[in-house]
């Protein structure tokens, strides 16, 4: 059970959150212009690093806001959280 620092509510139990996978995967500007391969990449391909991962969480049982987190998938340590739309910080 991680302790996740919601940027709006403070640290809360993992069970209050909904996971949203990789962050910074923007919906394509013009999907119709993409090839099938490019569209498949958007649909199905996500990074899966062993190490620091920029990912999305929603505080679904709290403020219901989405935010991003930098978490090390090898240790589960959260290096920081930041708001949607902000650039990915440099991991400490």
């Amino acid at each position: 059970m991680l302790l996740i620092p919601c940027p709006w509510c403070g640290p809360r139990e993992e069970a209050e959150f909904h996971y949203g996978g990789q962050a910074h995967v923007a919906y394509p500007e013009d999907p119709a212009a993409l090839s099938d391969e490019e569209w498949a990449r958007y649909l199905f391909f996500r990074d899966n690093p062993k190490g620091v991962f920029a990912e999305r969480w929603s505080h679904s049982a709290g403020c219901r806001r989405w935010f991003n987190a930098l978490r090390d998938t090898a240790t589960n340590q959260i290096h920081g959280v930041y708001r949607v739309g902000e650039p990915r910080p440099v991991a400490s």
């Binding site: 909904h18 996500r46 090898a74």
Partner: protein, 410 residues
């Protein structure tokens, strides 16, 4: 003083298993990952295709990853034709595997029950049973009373939160002893000349002009004509070293066992709705799978609240388990695809082959995967039973969506 309980003992292992050795400088085939799939692939490469200059590289100890951590359920009652094909092929191999490997695998065809808890579960269950039958897979639909006959300890009262409304039953399904399976393959492959290198982590794939040439490892570089990936939860990390992105996400999956108990549970029960799967293994311990962690992680350990939720669901179905004790919990890292079906086949790199994405269901497929993947590696083309599980399906959209089907995973 009670007599010595039957089943509390296990058959002995052979006096000689295998010798893990030092890597040579070059092999015809290097298999990355000495789990069940890697070992079975090595065995069938040697047995079916005469390819014996093979090394299986393992970053830890042989069969110490998900092979050592799974709940050993074997079944083939999958909905889609493509899945039924490869899993049924595996089940048929399971049925002859103890003789084939000359190893006591404790393969026990005690059946698997998949319970239904809603009208939609019932529709999905019947759909799957009917599809299984037409595909030549044994399957029955049981009403709650019949469920109780197969497994007398299941609570079928209509007064519980999600009553049992029936279930599918595959009599030929069952369990086996995972270590014995791995060691049986390892010993048989070793006898055919396959080598095993433990504590040898692959840190990079060597590619030249679009063709694999070998692997870099923590024990030096090893040249290889072909490389077959069987690295389960770590596949993304290895494949990325050759610039190959895969539609995989790695998640912790937990399981647990109880102390040894006198026999109470004669079959395997799975319930997707309340997310329970449980069997009683040969020594008498209850073996139970818990849920998968939502977040990606390579920690071989899951979150505790998932175990708690699991137990609540288990006691809804099996009130008799109340005072059993959890003896040990553990976690593995499973690689999950968007459609909950595996990826088996060729890659953009010549001579590099992929077998991954088995999620929570890899153990049961072990012989079938080994057979088909060895064929794929040997012939440089997918085995017909593996062909539907190509990477290309994510581009065309021809997914094998076992999410939508009730009998997902496990």
């Amino acid at each position: 003083m009670s007599p010595r309980p039957p089943g509390a003992d296990l058959p002995d292992h052979p006096d000689r298993l295998w010798s893990a050795g030092e890597p040579k400088s070059s092999y015809d085939v290097v298999i990355v990952g000495a789990g069940g799939h890697g070992l079975a692939t090595a065995y069938y490469l040697a047995r079916n295709h005469g390819i014996t200059n093979v090394a299986v590289l393992e970053r830890g100890w042989l069969a110490g990853g998900n092979m050592a951590r799974n709940t050993t359920i074997i079944r083939s009652n999958y909905l889609w034709d493509e899945s039924a094909g490869i899993y049924e092929h595996a089940l048929k191999l399971w049925e002859g595997l103890e003789d084939e490997l000359d190893y006591p695998l404790l393969f026990s065809q005690r059946g698997v029950l998949n319970l239904a808890h809603s009208l939609q579960d019932v529709r999905d269950g019947v759909r799957r049973v009917e599809a299984n039958r037409l595909n030549g897979v044994d399957a029955e639909w049981l009403d709650p009373r019949q469920v109780k006959e197969v497994c007398p300890i299941v609570e079928i009262s209509p007064d519980v939160r999600y009553p049992v409304m029936g279930g599918t039953f595959q009599p030929r399904a069952g369990i086996a002893k995972h270590d014995y399976v791995a060691w049986g393959y390892a010993r048989a492959a070793a006898a055919l000349g396959v080598e095993f290198i433990e504590n040898c982590e692959v840190t990079g794939l060597r590619v030249s002009d679009g063709r694999i040439t070998g692997v870099d490892t923590t024990r030096g570089s090893i040249a290889a004509g072909r490389v077959a990936l069987c690295a389960a939860g770590h596949t993304s990390v290895v494949a990325a070293t050759a610039g190959i992105d895969l539609p995989l996400q790695s998640h912790p999956l937990q399981a647990l066992v109880s102390e040894l108990l006198e026999p109470v549970h004669p079959t395997v029960v799975m319930s997707n709705a309340v997310h329970v799967y449980v069997s009683q293994a040969h020594k008498g311990e209850l073996v139970m799978g818990a849920g998968i962690d939502a977040a990606n992680s390579y920690r071989q350990r899951g979150a505790f609240h998932i175990i708690e939720r699991q137990m609540a669901a288990a006691l809804e179905l099996f009130p008799i388990f109340a005072r059993a004790h959890v003896l040990r919990t553990w976690g593995g890292v499973v690689d999950v695809t968007p459609d909950a079906s595996p990826i088996v086949g060729l890659t953009p790199v010549d001579g590099l082959y992929l077998n991954c994405g088995w999620g929570t269901g890899g153990f049961k497929a072990t012989p079938g995967v080994g057979w088909c993947f060895a064929h794929t590696v040997a012939h440089d083309e997918p085995h017909p039973l593996a062909a539907p599980f190509s990477l290309d399906r994510f581009v065309t959209g021809a997914l094998v969506d076992e999410h939508g089907a009730a009998a997902v995973a496990h």
